[in-house]
Every structure is written in C-alpha cells, then in structure tokens.
C-alpha cells in the first residue's frame, strides 16, 4: 500500500506516493530521476549515496522515503542549482580530487556539511568528516586538499 510523502528536494516541494519500504535513495534516483546520488552498496557502507537531510549527511540507502517526510533534502544536483559551480565543486576540480567520480557527489555533500559547521577545519577534521565515504581511486589526499582549498578560498574571498 503506497503512502503519500511530502518533502522538499533541492528547494522544490514534492508530493509522492511511495511504498513504505522504499528508500530515500530509490525515491531520488527512480521517482525523481536525480541519478547524481549513487548506489555503491545499498547497505550504508560506502557513502556514495550521501545526501543532506535538513543539512545533515545521511546515507540515502538507509533512510526510508517516509522518514524524510517534511524534511529538506539536498542532493548533488541542488548544489550548483543556479548553474554556477559551488566553491566546493570548483575546489574539487582545481585540486584534482575527482577520478572515477562515483564517490564525488557524496564527498561534496559531506564536505558541505562539514564546512557549514567548521569554516576552517583541520586536515584531521576533514579526514574524520569523510571517513564514511569510501573512495578507491584518489587515496583521499586530493579530496582533503580540495576541502581545505574551498575553506581557504571562502575565508579569503568571503564567498558564501
């Protein structure tokens, strides 16, 4: 039996009928076509499906769609919503933090949540923040560099 769920995704209010066992990940990818959120394991181990739920990072594969009722969901598609790249996205590009790209959406969102809490994180804090997001390509070094670069740029330029 499907149930109605109301939530806000990337700033747009949505009303969808979903099976109670449907995950937020399936809702995003299949019902809304927001395929930037990736499925790497479907059991909460890899972080490729990380999105922000009311500003907090969650693994969308472990959240039921109904649990997100009334929440604000931010996916990677909403990060550069006005067509210009977010400073974090630009920093990922500039620092060479992208390889296969499968972990990148989750990494960017988790980094965004970190920088919202700590404008100037230490390398250690960055590593802790992304510890739940697996990356097999980069060795994390350039991802750390990118997040610190974004923080520095923001401090220097006052970009929001």
């Amino acid at each position: 039996m499907k149930r109605l769920v109301n939530l806000t995704v990337n700033g747009t209010a949505r009303e969808l009928a979903v099976e109670p066992r449907r995950t937020l990940l399936a809702l995003l990818r299949e019902d809304l076509g927001l395929t930037g959120t990736k499925q790497g394991c479907a059991e909460g181990d890899c972080g490729a499906c990380a999105v922000l739920l009311d500003g907090e990072p969650v693994n969308a594969c472990l959240v039921l769609a109904l649990e997100a009722a009334g929440c604000e969901v931010l996916t990677i598609e909403g990060v550069a919503a006005d067509g210009t790249l977010d400073p974090l996205q630009q920093a990922f590009i500039d620092a060479g933090a992208v390889q296969c790209g499968f972990c990148t959406p989750g990494m960017v969102l988790v980094a965004r949540a970190l920088l919202a809490r700590h404008a100037a994180p230490t390398p250690r804090e960055v590593r802790h923040a992304i510890a739940g997001n697996l990356c097999r390509c980069t060795g994390y070094q350039k991802i750390e560099d990118a997040i610190l670069l974004a923080a520095r740029r923001r401090a220097a330029g006052g970009t929001p």
Binding site: R29, G36, E77, I93, G96, L134, G139
Partner: protein, 816 residues
C-alpha cells in the same frame, strides 16, 4: 619539465570533472530506456555441485516475467579471456563450480518481479566435495573441477634465464624466504552494470561498466553468434575497474541475450555481494624465493616458485602467472633467473587481473628479501638497491628492454625527501621501546600508562620506516588474442564550422583520466586550449582500442591521437600555406593562432570571408591575427571534412621462449617509496604515518593526474598490505562480501602521501610519456612490511599484515 609545451605537463582540470562534481555524469545504472526490463541472475549456493534438476516453469508463468534463460535455451559457446583457455560457458550445464556460478537469468518488468521469478526456479543440487585448498588441489584424491585441467592445474610455467645453479655455487650469500597472500577484491565503487538493447535493424548495443569494450564486443559476438559489426559496445561513465572489469562477464552476456529474446531493453546491475561473487580480482599467491648475492651485494640469481589459487576459471590467470615471474626481471640487474609457477583451479570465484597484475605480491617478497639481504651484509637497504638498479638502455635477463628508467632517480628522490638516515647494522639487543601516544590518545604519558592523567592505558608504540622499489609495463606488448591488430586507433575531426576539435576513440575511461590525456595531447599538437577539444571515448563504433589494462592507454592511444592530430594539423596548414602563398613548413599552430615563421599572421582575405559568413554575430575576435578557427573553417571550405587518423601498434618485442610475450612493453615505468609506520605492540595495530613516493612516468601529460594515480596506487597498496582479505568459510562461501566486512582504506587509514614525479624522456612514448596507473602500487606493500620490521623486528609472512598476524609474529619471534 615544461619542455616548451603549452598544455602538456600542466595541471589543467580533467575534461570530465564538471559533469562529475555536478552529478550530471551518467553511469550505466543511471541510464534507462523506454520499456526497460530488469535482469537478475540465479547463482549457485554451492561451491561444487551437480545440477540434477532445473525447473523454470513457475518462473516463466509469473506475470511480468518476459524471459527466463538457462543453459538449455542459450548458446553453449565456451568463452573466457585467453583463447587457449576458454573454459567458461554462460550458465552452468550439469555442474556449478563456485558459489555465485550463474545458473539462470530472468528479465521482468521490475526488480521485485525479477527477484520473485528467481525464487520460483526450482533447482535440485547434488553437492560434490569442493576443492577449496590450493595447496592440496593437485593431490590425486582431489575432485577434478574442469575436464581440461588434470589435477586441477590450469597453467604451469617453467622459465630459466642464465644459469641459476652456477650462480648459486658462486654466491657469497644465499637466502630463501616466503610470502603468501589472500584473495583480494578490487572493490571499485560502482558495481558492474549492463544495459542492452536491440535496434530495429537487429543491431545490439550494450552500455556497460566494462573497461575493455573491444574484448566485450568480440565475446558478445562470439557467444551470441553475431557479426562483430552487429555488436556495439558503449561505455557510459565507469566508476573504477582496476582489472576486475577487464573481461566479458556472464552478467553482460545474459543481459544481451535477454534483450535479444524479449526485444526490449534490459538492464542488470550487480549488488555489492555479487561484485564479490563474480570476483576476477587479485589471486591468492604463495611465493618462495631463493636469492644470491656476491660480497658487495650484487644480485647474482633469483630462483622463484609461485603457486596461484585461480578460483574456478582461467580468466586472466594465464597472463597473471607469467607476470608473477617476468615482472621481477627489473629494475635490478639480475644475471640469472628461474621461475616455476603453477596456477590451480579451486571452487571459488575466478580470479583475474588487479592493479599491478600478477606482480604485486612477488614484488612484495622480493623487496622484503632484499632488506633481509642488506641486513645480513650490514648494508643500508637503499645502498643495496642503488648497487643493483638498472639504467636506461639495459635489457633484463628475460629480454625486457629498459628504453628509459629513472629508477636511481626515484630512489634518490625518496631518500632525500624523507630524510632517510643510512641504517647501521641492526643491534643484537632489543631496541628501546618508545612510548608514543597515539594521535587520538592523550599526550604526555610514559610507557605503561604511568602518570597518565586520564587513566587511559597507553600502549607501547614503536616506529619504523621501510623502502621498496618496483616497475611496470606501459602497455602489454601483445593483444590477448593473436593478431597483428593495431592496439589503438584514433580519429581527430575538426568541426566543419571551425574551431572545435573532436577526438573519437574507443579508449576506456574508467576514472584514470585517459580522456584528459587524449585531449591534452591533441590540444598540444593543434595549439588550442584543452577546452577546445571534445573527447568521445569507450565506443566501439569510434575506433579500436584494446581497453584500460596493463597501463597501456597513455602510451598507446597517446601515440595514436598524436598521429591523428598531426595529420589534421598538416591538412590545415597545407590549406593555409596555399592561401598565404608560403611554404607549409614555415607555418605552425599555437595559442589558437596560425604562426608564420614564429609570428602571428594577418590575412585580409580569410578574415573577410569568415566575418561575412557570420554577419550579425559578435565573433569576439581578439585581434587581426589569423585564428585556428578561421584556418579550420578555411580548410573545410577548400577540401571538405578535415579528418586525421592515427594508430599504434607496438614493434615486435621480447624473446622467443614460451611466455616471452608477457611482460614485454614498449616502455617501463618505475617507482620507489618509503613508508613510515607506527606499530602498537599490545594490539598489533599498524598506523601509516607518511608515504613518500617517487614515480618515473616518462614525461607527465598532466602532473595532477600523475599524482592522483600515484596516490591511488599507494592507497590500494596500503589496504592490501594491512587489511584486505576475502575470507572463505569451510563451504566455500565468502564470509565478508560487503564493504563493511571487506575493509578498504578509509580517509583515516591512508596517510599523507608525498608524490614526487620523476620525469624521464621515454623514446618510445608519445612526447616521452609512459605509465603511472599500476607501477605505483608495486613498492607499497613491501615498503610497509619493511617498515613494520624496522619498527618491531618481526617479519609477517602472510598478507595482509593484520593485527592478529603481527601479534602472532611478535609472540613467535619476540620482536623489537
């Protein structure tokens, strides 16, 4: 080393970076088609069993099920990787050979229906005794897994270069050491996926997460009985491969057949567990090496024996077993070498290629053995290596030609950067154990927790550092099937409207950045910004490329794109030369302009025509100088489409002995690393503190990407050194088929990595470039093992060096 290049050797962004940071990049599972069906596989729950009865009738009757495939209604065409060892068939016939062996496939309107259909398939098994222990798999009483492999021996290698026995007789010091490992998983982030569709003409397109579109095309055509021209392989974005996606899979073949049978597009996606059940990653190895040196530490011989557990099929294993031997031929001068290798089959998921194919654990043992030899000789381990490293121009005893080799430079670079202190001969007495607070524990305590203000027990922590080297091919010298085929073909086409450049090729972009490499080379040749170049890749309609394996793309497709771009450049310059009335040789393309005798030129006629064509436009022309866009447009007007082609085929390489092809390459990259570790003597926990890595990649096409490959290599090596292990139960079932239980390094496990790019000018590489994608993993495991020994005084002889194994070694040998 800029070398006077405009874009080569820089740090420009990846050409696919924007789509990847915005979530627009589409991977196979992100694709859909109208009327899409969902495929699913029924896989064996037994490691070894006879199929007694298979009844699919209930599944076929389930509403929403469009097709059910088994061995009974699909082609029985053997396939695999090496044509001499085609030992796989789509769907088990009378026998299943590993847990995960495919028995049936269904296509249904949704995944729930597909799963229900699988549950309705009745299979009766007669369990057979499985062969799970590679060490005893050859014993006469063991069940034989494949008819073709007597005593379960899938491949056997014997090679002898020089005279090992004579060398042994004259050696000053001879050591024998052993190292074994566990099966590993590539654990890329994107599980395998495939979407197949048959168009109105009957042509099959498969979008796949493959890293070898060409071999996938061949295998699909062969198994389905189609002409190669009727199989079109397309790679969407691919989320890593590392080797395990380098062969056609039953899932891909089944998806093609489901689409063919139903007439509807069908998509199948692996679960993470299925990634493990499919396997095709790193083999389990047992290595024994006997090595002799003279009084000065010069290597005289290596006598090497290896056993490989291959799992239930040959897969890439024939290449693997040869690589395990041949990749020890360098980077040290080795006067003689004997190699005896055996690869057995067992009832486990088949093993294949993984980053550093076949050579990683052999390298790990050899480099740890060199440390032991250095210690016995009272030599610093770097000094021992420097006494033996080869130089450019030398050829190994197994006929591998080092056309460039910055091995000495790499060793010296990591030595100098890390602040390495030459190691004095090891004292006999146990070394003082320093009490060191772990990074997360309170500081200011002494050993045993005395004076610890928080009362938290502080462990005895010791530190150490280790060094190791390695080298790797820049592309396999020969294709997997016997052929004189070019290994890469590339077409560069200029937009008819002028200004745009399109590179068309089938190179496999799996995240390593080959599209950016191709774009950079084309941009350098054509004198335009990288952003002016569009790369279409991974599509068998666009060219032939053998794929992303053996670190071949930069060198091989790099040559092809360079030739194609030069072809285009020459056509454009010929047209411009005629228009300007100057010899073509005086013209060049640079900075998006045409240069004559090194200076920008002005042509009223060309400019006027170009501006007239664009009446009403704001062309934004920066000055009067003739632009690349105008020249390209003129070339089209004068002579039609401007298309350049290039191809690359390696020269004949290597010796004539059996297996001589494996290990040959037009060029070799090499690397050295120093790892610094902390070991907790109470828990056996190893923490990497720092890795200093140097790699000779020839000339770097993009420095940021070279570093990124080096970092990735180190990261994977750290995981393999310390905790990656596919664990099997007594029934042959994988105990840890998830990313929670099969642990790959997290951001907290990988230490800061200092990557030093050592550039040599490789005569056989495009612009002097060679590999970086795999060679960089070679030193990591032994550098970590040598560092653990330096810290603790114990050697771990079974990988991974988990806390349990380190504690066991400490108990056994006393340690520190």
């Amino acid at each position: 080393m800029s070398g006077g290049f405009d874009v080569l050797g820089g740090r420009g962004p990846r050409v696919d970076a924007v789509e990847k940071v915005t979530g627009r990049a589409q991977y196979t599972d992100d694709l859909t088609r109208p009327g899409l069906l969902h495929g699913a596989l029924l896989q064996s729950p037994y490691a070894h069993a006879r199929l007694v009865r298979l009844d699919t009738s209930r599944a076929e009757r389930l509403p929403g099920v469009a097709a059910v495939l088994t061995a009974r209604n699909t082609p029985r065409v053997p396939y695999g990787v090496s044509p001499a060892r085609y030992d796989e068939q789509l769907f088990a016939g009378d026998r299943v050979r590993f847990i995960g062996d495919e028995i049936a496939a269904v296509a249904a309107v949704d995944l729930d229906t597909a799963a229900e259909a699988l549950s309705l398939i009745r299979v009766e098994y007669e369990p057979l005794e499985p062969v799970l222990d590679a060490l005893t798999a050859r014993e006469p009483d063991r069940p034989q897994i494949h008819e073709a492999y007597a005593r379960n021996v899938c491949a056997q290698v014997e090679q002898h270069f020089g005279d090992v026995d004579a060398a042994r007789a004259g050696a000053y010091l001879v050591r024998q050491d052993r190292l074994s490992s566990k099966m590993q998983n590539a654990a890329f982030l994107e599980p395998q996926a495939a979407l197949a569709e048959v168009d109105g003409r009957g042509r099959l397109t498969i979008w796949s997460s493959t890293q070898v579109p060409h071999y996938l095309q061949r295998t699909v055509a062969m198994v389905l009985g189609l002409a190669e021209r009727d199989v079109h392989v397309v790679m969407p974005r691919v989320g890593g491969g590392f080797g395990a996606k380098a062969s056609a899979s039953a899932m891909e073949l089944a998806t093609c057949l489901l689409a063919q049978r139903t007439g509807r597009p069908t998509k199948t996606v692996f679960s993470r567990e299925q990634v493990f059940l499919h396997g095709r990653s790193r083999h389990q190895f047992w290595h024994t090496m006997t090595t002799g040196v003279d009084r000065e530490g010069r290597l005289l011989f290596l006598d090497h024996e290896a056993l490989l557990d291959g799992g239930a099929a040959a897969s890439f294993g024939i290449a693997t077993i040869y690589y395990a031997g041949s990749l020890l031929g360098a980077p040290y001068r080795l006067r003689s070498m004997r190699y005896r290798g055996v690869r057995v089959v067992t009832n486990k998921p088949p093993c294949g290629a993984q980053r550093g194919h076949g050579g990683v654990h052999a390298r790990a043992l050899f480099e740890t053995q060199l440390d032991r030899i250095a210690e016995e000789l009272g030599l610093d381990p770097i000094e021992l290596r420097l006494r033996n490293v080869m130089a450019a121009g030398e050829t190994t005893c197994n006929d591998l030609a080092m056309s460039s080799l910055g091995m000495r430079e790499c060793l010296e670079a990591v030595r100098d950067r890390s602040g390495w202190q030459p190691r004095a001969p090891r004292p006999a007495a146990p070394r003082a154990v320093a009490a060191e607070p772990d990074g997360l524990r309170p500081a200011g305590s002494s050993a045993g927790g005395n004076g610890n203000p928080l009362g938290v027990p502080i462990s005895a922590v010791v530190r150490g550092r280790g060094v190791a080297c390695g080298f790797f091919v820049s592309g396999a010298g020969y294709p997997i099937y016997r052929s004189r085929t070019p290994h890469a073909s590339v077409v560069v086409r200029l937009d008819e409207t002028g200004g745009g450049v399109e590179v068309q090729s089938a190179v496999a972009e799996i995240g390593q950045g080959c599209e950016t490499v191709l774009a950079t080379i084309a941009a350098e040749v054509l004198g335009v910004p990288v952003a002016a170049v569009r790369v279409r890749s991974g599509d068998t309609d666009l060219g032939l490329d053998l794929g992303a394996y053996s670190s071949r793309t930069t060198l091989m497709a790099g040559h092809a794109v360079k030739a194609a771009a030069e072809h285009v450049r020459d056509q454009v310059l010929a047209v411009v030369a005629t228009a300007l009335g100057v010899p073509p040789a005086t013209l060049a393309l640079r900075g998006a302009l045409v240069l004559a005798a090194g200076a920008p030129v002005v042509s009223e006629a060309i400019r006027t025509e170009y501006v007239k064509e664009h009446r009403g436009w704001n062309l934004g022309l920066a000055g009067p100088h003739l632009t690349f866009a105008e020249a390209a447009r003129l070339a089209f007007l004068e002579r039609g489409p401007v298309v350049g082609t290039g191809l690359y085929r390696p020269p004949a390489l290597g010796g004539s002995f059996k297996g001589a092809a494996v290990g040959t390459s037009p060029a070799y990259g090499c690397s050295a690393q120093i790892a610094e570790v902390r070991v907790d003597l109470d828990t056996g926990q190893v923490t990497l503190e720092r890795v200093v890595a140097a790699h000779d990649c020839g000339r770097a096409i993009n420095l940021t990407q070279v570093e990124g490959q080096m970092h990735g290599c180190v990261s994977m090596g750290v995981g393999e050194a310390l905790f990656e292990e596919v664990v099997f139960g007594a029934d042959g079932r994988i105990q840890n088929p998830s990313l929670a239980d099969y642990r790959i390094p997290t951001a907290l496990d990988v230490p800061p990595i200092e990557a030093i790019v050592v550039e040599s000018d490789e005569p056989n590489g495009p612009f002097g470039a060679k590999e970086v994608g795999e060679g960089g993993i070679m030193p990591t495991i032994p550098a970590v093992l040598n560092a653990i020994y330096d810290a603790t005084g114990v050697r771990v002889e079974e990988l991974p060096a988990s806390p349990e194994r380190i504690l066991a070694a400490l108990r056994r040998d006393g340690g520190a």
